[in-house]
């Protein structure tokens, strides 16, 4: 017992620099991420501001019952998961394709130009981005409708923003437009770190370009892809509030209301603080479950893990 204690303190002393360096972050996490969890108690109360903690009415799991029996709860859950998955998969897929394509381009000026153009949208905010998307899809001189009509594919403009069945697609496409370039940078960086000798050997063995991508680049990217996937799966329940909030309108509300918009409309805006908290807890629980399952799957596939 004493021996192990000694080794602990000895170890601590040896690593004092590292411990000191991480201390501010631990304090940060405790202050900003753990202490606020105290507010979760609101979910078990009928919270009303202006009263002290001890004067609040406790209602047990009533708020959870209200949440799970809310008539639109399952629509909201479906929208949240569906749109996040669409964004996650399409975002990664196109970023990887772009990174692979850019890596094969040998004309540096063109490569630089493409990269710059493709990551520029990342730097505009969604407020501006959403307006650009809405203008492009407008029936009154929007570029998409103009082009489709110019090519005689349609004879009258289509109201894209008013069609519920198209909303998820618009969210996916605009997400790709905005993030593809920036996402590609990450993959490009990993590709650059692959040893050129592998490619040289492959060329000598007579591998074509596609074969080199298939057998060298993609396997080398696999760990990065898995790690990013695990991180993003944890954010599934929280993704893209701004984008969806700004692009949605009354006609498509059935397909556009995600969890955080639901919390805002049926919680905060109605001053049902307890209900909003309950919905937030639910969201966090689902996220935790998702991260652990993704991690587990990665482990089963024999890949790198985050946790």
């Amino acid at each position: 017992m004493k021996r192990s204690e000694n080794t602990f303190w000895q170890k601590l002393w040896k690593q004092k620099a590292l411990v000191l360096m991480s201390l501010p972050f631990i304090i940060y996490v405790i202050i900003f991420k753990y202490i606020p969890l105290w507010g979760w108690l609101m979910a078990f109360q009928n919270y009303w501001p202006g009263q002290s903690f001890f004067n609040q009415t406790w209602v047990g799991l009533e708020n959870f019952r209200l949440l799970l029996t809310d008539p639109i709860f399952y629509d909201v859950l479906r929208n949240t998961l569906a749109m996040s998955l669409i964004k996650l998969i399409s975002g990664m897929f196109f970023s990887i394709i772009l990174a692979l394509a850019l890596n094969e381009v040998r004309w540096t000026k063109f490569k630089k130009l493409t990269q710059t153009i493709s990551y520029l949208p990342h730097f505009i905010s969604w407020v501006v981005g959403a307006n650009l998307v809405m203008n492009a899809l407008s029936t009154d001189g929007g570029i998409i409708n103009e082009v489709l009509m110019g090519l005689n594919i349609i004879d009258s403009p289509i109201m894209f923003m008013g069609m519920p069945e198209l909303f998820w697609g618009i969210i996916g496409a605009s997400h790709v437009w905005k993030t593809v370039g920036f996402g590609a940078i990450l993959y490009l960086a990993s590709i650059v770190s692959i040893s050129p000798s592998l490619y040289e050997a492959a060329v000598i063995d007579g591998a074509s370009r596609l074969q080199r991508i298939r057998y060298i680049t993609l396997p080398a990217l696999k760990p990065v892809i898995i790690i990013l996937l695990i991180i993003n799966v944890g954010r599934l329940m929280n993704m893209g509030f701004e984008q969806i909030y700004l692009l949605s309108n009354g006609r498509v509300i059935e397909y556009s209301r995600i969890f955080r918009i639901f919390e805002l409309d049926y919680g905060l805006k109605m001053m049902r603080y307890s209900f909003a908290t309950t919905a937030g807890i639910f969201r966090s629980l689902v996220s935790v479950v998702l991260v652990f399952s993704a991690n587990k799957i990665a482990k089963m596939m024999g890949e790198e893990r985050l946790i």
């Binding site: 008013g162 509300i253 905060l268 805006k269 109605m270």
Partner: protein, 539 residues
């Protein structure tokens, strides 16, 4: 090196001394923080009326104006319980009362505010809550008689072009209204090289009442909100108009117009700015709205396309209906400026508000300085010369140089006629409504033989003490409140479909809509009825 260092020290000391001097100038001014739920650019710190008020009161206001969504802002303020000295939050003010954020004012008024007591006397009953306290003071109190307005509060607006082409007809029914628009649009498909829009409507977030209130006005009611109190044997009984036959007729008509291409194809996905832009371009022939929502566009039209100014009519679903769309001027006694529990010096705050509602202050704010901004004739009546009028025609000047907005918008204030028969509001000065109208407006008024567009409307309803229903707030976390949110969702979702789907699907869509909303009104009606009864008894 040493020399350089001492120079640096000297500069530091000097700059500190300078800041101390500037701070000292403001030192003898007491500061009051106030949150105001209207969107305005920040106050520059000095203006014609502002400097006088600051001199008189010795108080410097720190205003926080609304940025973004009020509902969210209120939710966050209450959750954090961090309040300024005074606040006003439009129709959410009652939420602050519920949260215990405002202090009772009646004793403060009694002791320190003779002007509030005098000019708000008519409203003090309605301002007293069920617990016997007064928590806030609304803007635009009417101490004496109300004044006439140039435009009625709400109506089906139609372009002057259409009226002119038809020799200024009197428009009574919705069928007639749309017939005029449709025929005119067929003859004039383009305006300024853009397509003519026959009819458009506003459906952007909370402003969508411009669309959904239509049936209520077609039934001849003024703006009551989501339900109408019907007079039945001396009692006011709350009835829904959502799901009614009039509503079905209204959306059926819009659906027909939409499929004929008369109605704006993008109306339901346009936001408020796009709506105003369309109206201001002069290519829109008709819209239904409350005047204050289209006022900005109308001002542009008066300047740039005077032939296209929008003229309101009290249109009903059937010419037989006796309309009372014009509302009796009322004071919004369910919102106003209150003093919070965080206020360090509530007496200074109430004295400041009392100073603002003094008749002289109100004349200063609304008319200006005598001789400089207005004249007084031998009967004691106020008027403005051409030059003075021109000054006040520039909204930016009134806001930034004159400074009215920063002491008037959302602050306790007076309206109607003053103790001498002058209107507090210059544009409602009885002698000025017609005289100060633009040429295009005069042309229309002359054609109909009226002196203001309100003249196109019948007299308002008999005195309804509770009026209007929409100022009732549903209690937080109540069944009625949740019903109301769900009903808004249902409206948002179904109404665009009702209008924009093909006409043969209208019946099916209507059934789906009514099926959903019918279950969402019982608790609301019950709550509204309870509060209407309470108002009838206590106001």
């Amino acid at each position: 090196m040493k020399k350089g260092f001492s120079i640096l020290i000297l500069m530091l000391v000097l700059s500190l001394a300078f800041t101390a001097v500037t701070a000292a100038q403001d030192e003898d001014l007491q500061e009051l923080d106030v949150f105001i739920s209207v969107a305005l650019p920040d106050y520059s710190g000095s203006s014609i009326v502002g400097d006088i008020i600051r001199e008189d009161t010795g108080i410097k206001l720190n205003r926080e104006y609304l940025v973004g969504d009020l509902e969210q802002k209120v939710g966050l303020m209450i959750a954090s319980q961090d309040y300024p000295d005074m606040l006003v939050a439009a129709h959410f003010t009652d939420k602050f009362v519920e949260a215990g954020a405002l202090i009772p004012l009646e004793d403060l008024i009694e002791e320190h505010a003779p002007n509030i007591k005098k000019y708000y006397a008519n409203h003090l009953d309605a301002l007293t809550k069920e617990d016997g306290h007064i928590y806030y003071l609304p803007q635009l109190a009417i101490p004496f008689e109300p004044a006439e307005r140039r435009y009625p509060a709400v109506g089906f607006f139609i372009s002057k072009r259409v009226l002119e082409a038809n020799d200024y007809p009197i428009i009574k029914s919705m069928d007639q209204y749309f017939q005029l628009i449709e025929d005119y649009q067929n003859e004039n498909p383009e305006y300024n090289e853009q397509n003519t829009i026959g009819y458009t409507t506003l459906f952007d977030s909370w402003r969508r009442f411009a669309t959904t209130n239509g049936p209520m006005h077609l039934m001849g009611y003024p703006n009551e909100g989501g339900f109408v109190p019907v007079k039945e044997g001396g009692e006011y009984v709350v009835r829904p108009y959502y799901g009614s036959n009039v509503e079905k007729y209204y959306y059926g008509k819009l659906n027909e117009m939409y499929n004929k291409g008369v109605m704006d194809q993008e109306a339901f996905v346009s936001n408020f700015d796009q709506y105003l832009e369309k109206l201001s371009s002069g290519r829109v022939l008709g819209t239904h709205n409350q005047y204050w929502q289209i006022q900005q566009a109308q001002e542009v039209l008066i300047d740039e396309h005077p032939d296209n100014i929008m003229i309101p009519f009290p249109v009903t679903y059937d010419p037989i209906v006796e309309e009372h769309v014009r509302e009796k001027p009322y004071v919004q006694t369910t919102q106003g400026m209150g003093i919070t529990v965080d206020a360090e010096d509530p007496v200074a705050a109430i004295k400041y508000l009392d100073y603002l509602v003094k008749e002289e202050t109100q004349h200063l704010l609304q008319w200006g300085i005598e001789g400089e901004h207005y004249q007084v004739d031998e009967d004691g009546m106020f008027y403005r010369t051409e030059e003075q009028l021109a000054m006040f025609q520039d909204p930016a000047w009134v806001r930034d140089e004159f400074g009215r907005h920063y002491y008037y918008n959302a602050f306790p204030s007076l309206t109607g006629l003053d103790s001498n028969g002058n209107s507090y509001m210059p544009i409602r000065q009885p002698s000025a409504i017609y005289a100060n109208s633009s040429d295009a407006e005069k042309e229309v008024m002359d054609a109909y033989g009226v002196k203001s567009f309100t003249g196109l409307y019948n007299k308002p309803f008999e005195d309804r003490k509770y009026f209007p229903l929409w100022t009732i707030t549903l209690p937080t976390n109540s069944e009625a409140q949740i019903e109301s949110t769900r009903m808004t969702d249902a409206l948002v979702q179904h109404i665009p479909t009702l209008v924009m789907d093909s006409t043969d699907k209208f019946e099916t869509n209507w059934d789906a809509y009514t099926e959903q909303i019918n279950g969402l009104m019982d608790a609301q009606i019950e709550e509204y009825q309870k509060q209407i009864d309470w108002r009838m008894e206590n106001w």
